[in-house]
Symmetry: C2
Subunit: 406 residues, 2 copies
């Protein structure tokens, strides 16, 4: 009998480990592979033969691992070279696979990781190597094309909409309140910022303005909107995506920063909240302006995760085993939302190369006419993804999480 | 029959509304007052006769209000003048009390609010006015003297220790990890930063260094500690209080800021995380340094509140009614921790003037010898305060909160 290997890549999410456990459990049921090995720190760790055997792990640890946020197998940001130019890494990877009798490699990741899935499967096909390469989606950014949404987004959206409501309440306790700016992640797509539309009080949405990277940021319009709303309400609540760009396509947040880049050439963002805060201060609308950057909390706040999201991530892991059994390689598990009044989904598969390096933006018809908010379509799309609470494990009154690294 | 009035003051907490509901419920049981009125926006709103009747509020709304974070009656930061110099505000307040047949005024707040309780009760005594003034403690800072701890702190500590663990996991997924700095609130006392000691993985504490305002910050020692730990672990996790001061007593965070002050003359802080980040970058220990400021989330994250804290806040409201029935005025409800293996508390009362403008620091014997962390005594003191989860109300899959302002 043969084995399989699973690994995680890219930025963590709250539910990325659920997919690992879903795959391990499905393998136990289907007896597809003798062992599920895990590569620690993604492809980078696999190249160093940093590999463990999850099939030898006891069930209790796996149950806790399923509800542990962040990449518990470790992660990497590693761009594989074009094998036509340099195949040394490919040779090394497939010789390690061969040594461990690995017939399937499952890679949990986002756009960049699907690039790796696509390249590895292409290479295997070219060399007639019988190893299937299958992608499992994850990203809080929800920016993968074709799939209805990505595991990880629902929990991030739940955290964001919850703290939007809580910080709204916090920011409106005085007679004279100021302006509150919440900065979310979202380099290219505004899904995370858009999810703040779920925050409601007395069934009314509480966010005054939501700014998405999909709409070129117009400083004059922003000032005008905020000034007017502040006069009306003595309080303005703004949500802004870190990826806001001006009308020439430059990130607002890099206009005043030095502009570091990661290995994929993405600009390291941050600071849009403070940028907007300074616009308001310079215009002297009020001196009471607070900006809060949610930062990495968005991708690890398992304590307020969505059970819908956790279960979908788990089932996506199981679906990957089924995709293998169909003989697929170079494909990613994807989610289809079924028609009907109740939220319901099924899995299908898409070519990893069609996902890699592509982006799913918030569609125009989810954005309001003014370009400073989202509409009911966005609300209806996001809302089912945050449903349901998760009961975490506690040990001696403290949350119990479990990882395989360190 | 007579009425009473309750109001909230100062910075919000997650459980400040629980105390209001505890008082309303105890009044229903004890039939002490005909009506519980609430002043919106504290003393500032009372001066404007912005007063509602909570006894006419339906039970469902009150139940939701009990589990709603942030000052749901509105708040203020209003320092009352010395009545020997100007008694106009005092006259106005007691004439409003008289008009509404108010025999007791309950004020939920921290140090500054107890100053108001003390002044109002002194004035009433001097003028032979039969209105009792009673304080109910609240502050996430846990810096009120005499009381074992303050309602609001346990939930803030639970949020901080939870996200410490979650961001620790997030910050350690790569082969080469960097240095993560979590900045907590805490202007004078380091209780909030100290609460990160509860974050454990495999029963081991995960925070490498905790910096408290109680220990003068030593730049050289900091650099040395961090450099050594980074070499050992390739990852350092640091928690720092916003109120860190150098050995001359200057706030680190104001060394490079303009230094705004609020109405009480407190410096507006923020930015310690970035200050430490720059120290590390300048020393070239690593370029991978992330700093996250938790900001107001610490005082409004009801979604991960402590049920111990919620119930104590609720019972503190009830205890205030009992204090009134004893004939007390100018006192604050305080919490005594009873001896024994199991956590258990009872209420007693302290003079508001002994609380006002005093600070309870993290004691020396809670801090480690190196001055860069806390010990088991701190752990044992804080841990019982975070115990137990709260089931919030949900409406149509979204959290349901309810307030009386807006």
């Amino acid at each position: 009998m043969y084995n399989c290997l699973i690994a995680q890549s890219g930025g963590p999410t709250s539910v990325i480990n659920s997919s690992v456990v879903g795959l391990v459990d499905e393998n136990k049921k289907s007896k597809t592979f003798e062992n599920v090995y895990a590569g620690l720190n993604g492809i980078e760790g696999i190249l160093n033969e940093n590999i463990i055997n999850l099939s030898q792990c006891d069930e209790k640890k796996l149950n806790v691992f399923k509800l542990t946020p962040s990449s518990g197998l470790g992660s990497c940001r590693y761009k594989m070279k074009d094998f036509n130019k340099d195949e040394s890494e490919y040779k090394r990877i497939f010789s390690i696979f061969n040594k461990l009798d690995i017939k399937a490699f499952f890679y949990i990741g986002g756009n960049d990781s699907m690039d790796t899935v696509s390249k590895l499967s292409e290479y295997a096909k070219n060399k007639n190597i019988d190893v299937k390469i299958i992608g499992i989606p994850k990203t809080i950014d929800n920016d993968l094309p074709i799939t209805d949404h990505t595991p990880g987004f629902g929990s991030a959206a739940k955290f964001i909409s919850t703290v939007t409501l809580e910080t709204y309440l916090d920011s409106s306790v005085y007679i004279n309140n100021g302006i509150f700016i919440l900065e979310t992640m979202g380099r290219d797509a505004g899904w995370l910022a858009a999810s703040s539309c779920l925050a409601t009080l007395n069934k009314k949405p509480i966010v005054d303005f939501i700014y998405l990277p999909e709409v070129p940021f117009n400083e004059e319009k922003f000032i005008k909107d905020v000034e007017k709303k502040y006069k009306e309400q003595n309080h303005v609540y703004i949500v802004a995506s870190e990826g806001l760009k001006d009308n020439t396509g430059n990130f607002l947040s890099t206009l005043k920063t030095t502009g570091c880049h990661d290995n994929f050439g993405h600009a390291q963002l941050g600071g849009v909240g403070n940028y907007l805060k300074n616009l308001i201060l310079n215009k002297e609308i009020t001196t009471r302006v607070k900006s809060l950057e949610l930062g990495v909390l968005q991708r690890c706040a398992m304590h307020i995760s969505s059970s819908t999201d956790v279960e979908e991530a788990y089932n996506a892991g199981a679906a990957a085993i089924k995709l293998y059994l169909k003989g697929s390689s170079g494909y990613m598990v994807a989610i289809k939302r079924l028609n009907g009044n109740l939220y319901n989904t099924e899995f299908f598969s898409v070519k990893a190369c069609d996902v890699a390096n592509n982006v799913k933006y918030v569609p125009k018809d989810f954005i309001n006419a003014e370009g400073n908010g989202v509409n009911e379509k966005a609300y209806n799309y996001i809302k089912p993804l945050v449903a349901g609470n998760v009961e975490l494990f506690y040990e001696n009154d403290l949350i119990d999480y479990s990882i395989f690294t360190k």
